[in-house]
Subunit: 129 residues, 2 copies
Amino acid sequence: MGVIRITKSVKALLNAFAEQEVALSTVALVEQFQDHMNRSTVYRILERLEDEGILHSFTGSDGLTWYALGNKNLLSGKANLDTHPHFQCKDCGKTECLPMSVSIPDVSKHTVESVSLLLVGQCSDCASV
Amino acid sequence: MGVIRITKSVKALLNAFAEQEVALSTVALVEQFQDHMNRSTVYRILERLEDEGILHSFTGSDGLTWYALGNKNLLSGKANLDTHPHFQCKDCGKTECLPMSVSIPDVSKHTVESVSLLLVGQCSDCASV
DNA sequence: AATTTATTGCAACTTTGTCGCATTAACAAA
DNA sequence: TTTGTTAATGCGACAAAGTTGCAATAAATT
């Protein structure tokens, strides 16, 4: 499986997530570390960390890929579908996992294997301006 | 606003949606009409039709943009949030709007303006194989 | 039919993301 | 601590989705 060696680059990326309790886009991470690691390295590490279950990814409103800590943490059991939503602020772009589960109704004749749920709106910081 | 002139290209695109009751990806449409209209024309027409409310768009599991008929059709009133999910079959790729509304819990301190909800799984056709 | 201007085609471009391959650096074992 | 194995990285080239400016074209209106 994924992460076998804890390289400096892996540490740096994990650090970025540990410091901030928010989701980070691949684009932002590539830019943040452009002087310290190659673009493809960023992509490959994120992929590996996701394979390990340390990160999980989702698609933002702009179609870009975002990553956030956790995955298994947010799930009660592996049998259940992970239906936690992500929230993206249309003003400041801040994106985060929402610590809740949304119930998805049964879809007749369809087997649902994964759910991605993105809420776009205004976060509290931007609302108070 | 958007659509002012009903050109041959606009008619052709609207026809594609009328014939099939499913969502179509920009990529598929560009390919389908590659001999009849330019790629940028497809993108621009889809954008205009969405502005008009004739189509609505969402992002598929692959990160690609998809369009489907309706929008206002599916909404009871403009005051309510449109929370109808989209379903994408992981096997055949068929993608469709689901005629239902999913209730989104209140998110404290966040104003939710739009919801995108994508279910990925297996459709009935693929399940019976 | 003439006029106006929205729409289109074209081509060049941007951006996100992937890939192969040679080099480098984790890390386990001696 | 040194050595050997191979995962991980850098680099560069590439692919695909989507955008943009501008000149040419074709709706729609009079």
